[in-house]
């Protein structure tokens, strides 16, 4: 299924996704839109429908911006293509962040940098609050969702439980619920 008639070269895959990685500011959906424009509309590497499937599967684990890159790369050239796309996409940001981390940990005692960072810290917290708000409005659709969000908040703030355990608990609960729901409404035979 991944053997297209005219094979795209791995170097081209790498360079394309490196370009996306370098220009993809804003994270998440902003990057997905960029990938869609280049791979679906400009290069015709993948159909819009298949791209959307990849996006749906990409929600399961990890950043979906990276996942759609891997999926598209795999569609073009199999496993090697997928890995090439993923590495190409991550490469520019990895090098940039490494460079900035080095500068930061070398010079972070400079009073000027300290002063500037004292200004950015509250803004970052403000950003996280906004994310919580917006995600909440989009993802919490029923009373069960409200209870789950509050329970996760309380478990983290008051009980100081590890976020990983809270996530696992929520996943287990949610799996049981959707399994139960599936048995309740019946399942269209495949």
């Amino acid at each position: 299924m991944s053997t297209t008639t005219n094979k795209v070269r791995l170097t081209e895959i790498f360079l394309t996704f490196a370009k996306i990685g370098l220009t993809g500011f804003g994270g998440g959906m902003a990057i997905v839109a960029l990938v869609e424009r280049i791979c679906v509309r400009e290069k015709n590497w993948i159909t819009s429908e298949e791209f959307l499937h990849g996006l749906a599967f990409g929600q399961i684990l990890g950043p979906f911006s990276l996942n759609v890159c891997t999926f598209t790369g795999h569609h073009l050239r199999g496993i090697r293509g997928g890995i090439t796309a993923a590495v190409g996409f991550i490469c520019p940001s990895f090098l940039l962040v490494s460079l900035l981390s080095w500068i930061y940990f070398t010079y972070h005692k400079l009073p000027q940098l300290q002063a500037a960072l004292k200004g950015t810290n509250p803004v970052i917290i403000g950003l996280i609050v906004v994310v919580a708000f917006d995600m909440g409005r989009k993802q919490i659709k029923n009373p069960t969702g409200i209870i789950m969000a509050l329970a996760a908040f309380a478990a983290s703030v008051f009980l100081n439980l590890n976020a990983a355990w809270i996530l696992l608990g929520a996943a287990l609960w949610s799996l049981c619920r959707s399994y139960y729901h599936r048995r309740l409404v019946g399942w269209p035979p495949c």
């Binding site: 994270g27 997928g82 993923a86 940001s93 900035l100 930061y104 002063a115 200004g119 509250p122 996943a171």
Partner: protein, 172 residues
């Protein structure tokens, strides 16, 4: 400095429970890096968040920053490779079999159902970070202005963060 093997194992495990998008990394990494291993101070963690917002690519590049702190350039490399290994492998497996994956509904329902918990965790991260790092009315005002700009304007986060840096430089 932590051994590269420890770093690999820690980030691989984070990669396995990396659900609900990049922001879930904030509570996860804060807990592990700041509270458990004490590789970073809270301030440094927040600075790293600012840094990963200023650069292109997913927020998950926070892994590179924290890994860099734990083990230098190699630490950052190992952290980045291992946190992304699970999701890349999963996408390759899905890519190979996706015509046959018919139980997608149960996966999708489970994921949708667990997203409220991610919301709760992100809110809790804001709460924990705020309570332990904010001091003085000036910082509260900056937070409020930042919140308003992110929430009700379309200014790119990068410029808001850079602006806040300049403000910090001027008033401190």
């Amino acid at each position: 400095m932590a051994s590269l093997l420890t770093i690999a194992w820690i980030y691989f495990r984070i990669g396995l429970i990396f659900v609900g998008g990049g922001y879930v990394l904030i509570p996860l990494l804060n807990h592990i890096m700041v509270e458990q291993y004490k590789w970073l101070t809270l301030r440094q963690f927040l600075d790293g968040l600012a840094l990963s917002q200023l650069t292109p690519g997913p927020l998950a590049m926070l892994a590179t920053f924290t890994g860099f702190r734990a083990g230098g350039f190699l630490g950052g490399l190992i952290a980045t490779v291992f946190i992304f290994t699970p999701c890349v492998v999963l996408m390759l497996v899905i890519g190979r079999n996706y015509h046959r994956l018919k139980n997608i509904d149960i996966i999708k329902n489970t994921l949708d159902g667990l997203l409220p918990a991610v919301v709760g965790l992100v809110a809790a991260a804001a709460w924990n970070l705020g309570v332990s790092s904010l001091s003085g009315y000036k910082e509260i005002i900056i937070l409020a202005v930042g919140f308003a700009l992110f929430k009700w304007t379309k200014i790119a986060p990068m410029f808001v963060i850079l602006g806040a840096g300049i403000v910090g430089l001027l008033i401190n």
